[in-house]
Symmetry: C2
Subunit: 345 residues, 2 copies
Amino acid sequence: MNMETITIKDIARMCGVGVSTVSRAMNNHPDINEETKMKVMEIIKQYHYIPNNSARNLKRLDAKVIAILVKGISNPFFMKMIKIMESEIQKKKYSLVLHHVEMNEDEVDVALELIKEKRLRGIIFLGGYFTHTKEKLQQLQVPFVLSTIAMTQKYQDTSYSSVSVDDIKESYKLVDYLCKMGHKRIATIVASNLDESVGKLRQEGYRMALEDNGIEPDDSLIYVMNHELDPYTMENGYAVMNQILKSENVPTAVYAISDTLAIGACKAILESGRKIPEDISVAGFDGIDMAYFYSPSITTIRQPIEEIAKETVAILFDVLRKKVDHQHKTFEAELVIGGSTRKID
Amino acid sequence: MNMETITIKDIARMCGVGVSTVSRAMNNHPDINEETKMKVMEIIKQYHYIPNNSARNLKRLDAKVIAILVKGISNPFFMKMIKIMESEIQKKKYSLVLHHVEMNEDEVDVALELIKEKRLRGIIFLGGYFTHTKEKLQQLQVPFVLSTIAMTQKYQDTSYSSVSVDDIKESYKLVDYLCKMGHKRIATIVASNLDESVGKLRQEGYRMALEDNGIEPDDSLIYVMNHELDPYTMENGYAVMNQILKSENVPTAVYAISDTLAIGACKAILESGRKIPEDISVAGFDGIDMAYFYSPSITTIRQPIEEIAKETVAILFDVLRKKVDHQHKTFEAELVIGGSTRKID
């Protein structure tokens, strides 16, 4: 059968019902037998029947473009963000151009090139860090939003928007919890000092929490991600944790600044014959699905991924269409306690 | 300091070295002290200095577009594919438009709309299934490649390309291994029968392997993903495994047709107080990083993700630029044995 010729009449005939019944099934009308409805929907799915009006509604996609420039695309955290943003952008009848910015690339330069694309209406910068002069940012002639990006220099600027959690505060929350559970030797897996990103802010929260709990931060417990491996990956956490386990000062708890790093660390701990949390407690940051499904579930800071992604797109379109002012929005994150951390004496 | 005015001379001055030393550091010249080089690179990174020539080399991105239409974007397997494809497409100086196709949407209709975008040069269909008439496919006026898509109807067609593994064969390989390890009651978590995708092929491989090992396939051991949850997710595997554990016929092994499902299944098994693999063996499919880092590592079929992604883009550009014929390429996948499966008596 030629699929293109399939009509609602064909579907009705194949199901042995009338056209109005097919229509009721498709529109979720209450006045239809559940079994009949199931049957109709199965046939519709099987033959990939598309009702005329929804075919008509297929938006023209050649019109307008929103670009997402992402740093650190390997992290499932960003993957989920991109998925939600993509779907939100599609709802607004815009197309999404996805562009990966290398760690050593300047995202504003990349954006300036992208803007030569005449139909580009807005930009979302996702992940990484952002230390640009006001002059440079002013060159960006389309509205943009920084999403989950650490801004070490806060411009109090209304020339762009930002959406994120307070990385210092949330990191503090987690490390404070570990301290309250009796941990005094808490190692951390962080980003290099050259990295101005969330890694820096999360490390700051770690230090502040220790100090407020009367623990002198010990530099020998601060481990930097392996720069030969991709940052924020399980592989990297695994490599660094093996290094920690070989040290003379094995900690009672490890706080990795992403869940991916934490999961890699768990692998190294378990492989060494140690138990989690009996021998070492492990905590992460982000709240990706994997942290929950890991065994044991990983104690983490759960960022409201969906809210952040949706708000990022919403703000961009508000600025774009309603010409409202730019805004800076900070979401609360949640300390989620899993089986990977325990109280010690 | 205004970043835009930073020159190689500024960098040299800040490092206390000559301009030629900065140049050597940037070009990885052997004739430079390692410590000096590190210092220079740190300053360069810190000030986001971009050498002139690399700024010149920034490609114009407004030119040409490749679209990826993906079904099932939640699966980390596709995420990794997209990341690699994106980077390959960028190398070719094309832009990537990412478009998510809903499970009940017709990807060819979506593609036809996208083609109205005049700069669209090629399409990659990623994931899902593909049962369209030749007539319909002929409407697609730009080259396209099907990547990791099950084609239950093989057209032997040279009007498009395809890249994938042999899902029946690879699934057979895994289930045959479980049989050879002594398992006779092997449950499987599969896609609905309405789903013509890889799910169907993998189920076929499962049945064939059982039969070749003298085991009668038992329909009560075939579990369909929960249709109220996103397919191929950990959450879904968790829900279905809980259902399996409540059944009267608890199997000795479970084969989930994706690693994400398998990881969710593990969570349910461990929560019930059972051990993996002592009480139940678990196997997945795909070979995502998470399957390896899970504890225990999950026995799986590792698809050559990187090769598949790169070959998909390479073939598309061969057709596009060199006008070579379309091709259908099948990659070998690898059975990776983890700690999640064991031999039974």
